[in-house]
Symmetry: C2
DNA sequence: CTGAAAGCGCTTACAG
DNA sequence: CTGAAAGCGCTTACAG
């Protein structure tokens, strides 16, 4: 009757055993009924659910993780949170994962391979139920960690080239090509590319720019301006000044990200460079503020929220052991033509 | 000799027991030596650490959480990730927490009390080692959840008024007053306040604006423009137009956040309203881009990175059971006067 | 300062 | 379809 002599460490928590007792079944049956795993007599399931509900039972994530060797959270690795792109992605992932009972753990790699590797190592110790990573470019060690972990993983923001890899994204290269073709269609001939950060996706956009120009015999490598610093409004202004100083004949600039293009538009206002008459300026991603610039910025709208949601759904399926209908989902992009081109 | 007949669920993981055996001590001693809890013979500690190092032992977070009823992560509740302010805060928190072995779990409340309550409930089930929440305003149920959980909690972004609460922030009201006094010192007399979102901190800035104007007998309630929508560049432009239409004599506008002020500056360019000659515009927070606007934006620089770091350090102390030297830390703010005023 | 025992609350693996 | 037993890898509580 009395537990006072025992070594109990009462936590006051309602446990599986409590529910089992209330429902008149064994704890294992409660566990199975609640998780929907294996077949359980529907009548028992109902009885168990009623009891769990009544007692306010909530499974202990730590106990579950220890017993099953699998956590109730998903780790998401992104380069940066200061790029609004990834904020939209994360919000969408979280919105899809939370109702399914998974927490989202955000790891920030700062575009650094060794940081990513280190984060991966840490996260994997916590046995996430799933993993979402940005793009395909990473160290061999990082790839080995992912593959060796047995944790389902979805890659986002790019389209997959290799089989056996799950991904949700769009073709950065096609988008870069389409944006350049738009400038060509507007009659622009000396089109510069201004890239910062120089991560894999920026280089893919650059490749699209090259393709479009090569197709019309107008590719000039001297119009590639690549800066390793993170993209920012400040850098965009600097790059504009630099490009105009070095290549005054340039009649359009393709900035690899909207923040650069916004900075360039502000600098153009300051320098009294007429946009788009004298110079067309286009960006990428359609970030906040771009439509309110002077003139409004032409850009490529990227479906990062849709990507986040689709990636989360695919991951939930993989966690349940289902093979996705399409392992590599391409969600496309949308050219948004505004006043700056 | 053979485990093949047993019901072992081999995980291949190096455990406490492995380290204990290698060091020739009991598992409990290993546990204590590694955590630095209670006094352990220094010689043994060295021996244990060497063995742990050699075997590549890493504690299992799930097992630890289950046994100790306390997780190895900290939950951080913020209103939004799309405000760069909170991104800076989160990055700083994570930077301070990671080396200490704590993961950061981000919960987004969307400025919604019931969402915050729900998040708190979920997070508390996971038994976080600590909690960081934004400001002091929340539902009674949420406050009760925090207090009843026994989980150490630090409030950020505001200064504390109540005893027994830990906080790191600055006085939003003082900052609002100082910014308004700056406008008065510049000779502005009809100073409007434009607020969006209308969360507690915005209302504190409004209060500072009122104070400054009341002190000089220039407070006019008709110059308070309050909009419940989230602040954004687009809304800033709209509010500027609206204010100029309703109160054409206004000679300065205090926008409660930089994104509003940036939108207002862009709208002023479009409408050819001379800033600062005809109209001074000031913002709050010193967000990305503000210094590159035309003209550059006068604003208040808020120490959110320092707040994140200090809050994380205070929390680590509280987790260790130490009382902080100062329970309410005020990190101040900095007036940044640029061309727009 | 050190340890043997029990327990945290689940799920896996085996049986029936 | 259901269950008794064991185990996941730690830490707590009690003793000495």
């Amino acid at each position: 009757m009395s537990d006072s002599r025992s070594r109990r460490r009462a936590t006051g928590r309602t446990t599986l055993a409590d529910v089992a007792q209330a429902a008149g079944v064994s704890p294992i049956t409660v566990s199975r009924a609640l998780r929907g795993e294996r077949a359980v007599d529907p009548a028992l399931v109902a009885r168990v659910q009623e009891a769990a509900q009544r007692l306010g039972y909530v499974p202990d994530p730590a106990a579950r993780a220890l017993a099953s060797q699998r956590g109730t959270h998903v780790a998401v690795l992104i380069p940066l949170l200061s790029n609004a792109l990834f904020v939209d992605l994360i919000e969408a992932v979280q919105r899809a994962l939370r109702p399914a009972g998974y927490q989202t753990l955000i790891g920030i790699t700062h575009y650094d391979e060794s940081e990513e590797e280190q984060l991966l190592r840490e996260q994997l110790l916590h046995r996430p139920a799933g993993l979402i990573v940005t793009g395909f470019e990473r160290s061999a060690a990082a790839r080995a960690l992912i593959a060796g972990s047995g944790v389902p993983c979805v890659h986002v923001m790019e389209t997959s080239t290799q089989p056996g890899q799950y991904s949700v994204g769009f073709s950065q290269q096609d988008a870069g090509r389409a944006l350049t073709e738009h400038l060509l269609a507007q009659g622009r001939r000396r089109i510069a590319f201004a890239g910062a950060q120089l991560d894999a996706r920026v280089m893919q956009r650059l490749q699209g720019w090259r393709q479009a120009l090569q197709a019309v015999g107008g590719h000039d490598p001297r119009l590639e301006f690549l800066h390793p610093a993170p993209s920012s409004i400040a850098l965009g202004g600097q790059m504009l000044e630099q490009i105009l100083a070095f290549r005054p004949a340039v009649d359009a600039i393709f900035f690899c990200n909207d923040d650069l293009a916004q900075g360039a538009l502000l600098a153009a206002l300051r320098l009294k460079v007429a946009v788009p008459r004298r110079l067309a300026i286009v960006g990428f991603n359609d970030l906040t503020g771009s439509e309110h610039m002077l003139p409004p910025l032409t850009t490529v709208r990227t479906p990062r929220a849709a990507i986040g949601e689709a990636a989360a759904r695919m991951l939930l399926g993989l966690i349940r052991g289902e093979a996705p209908a399409t392992p590599g989902v391409d969600l496309g992009y949308e050219l948004v033509v505004r006043g700056s081109s």
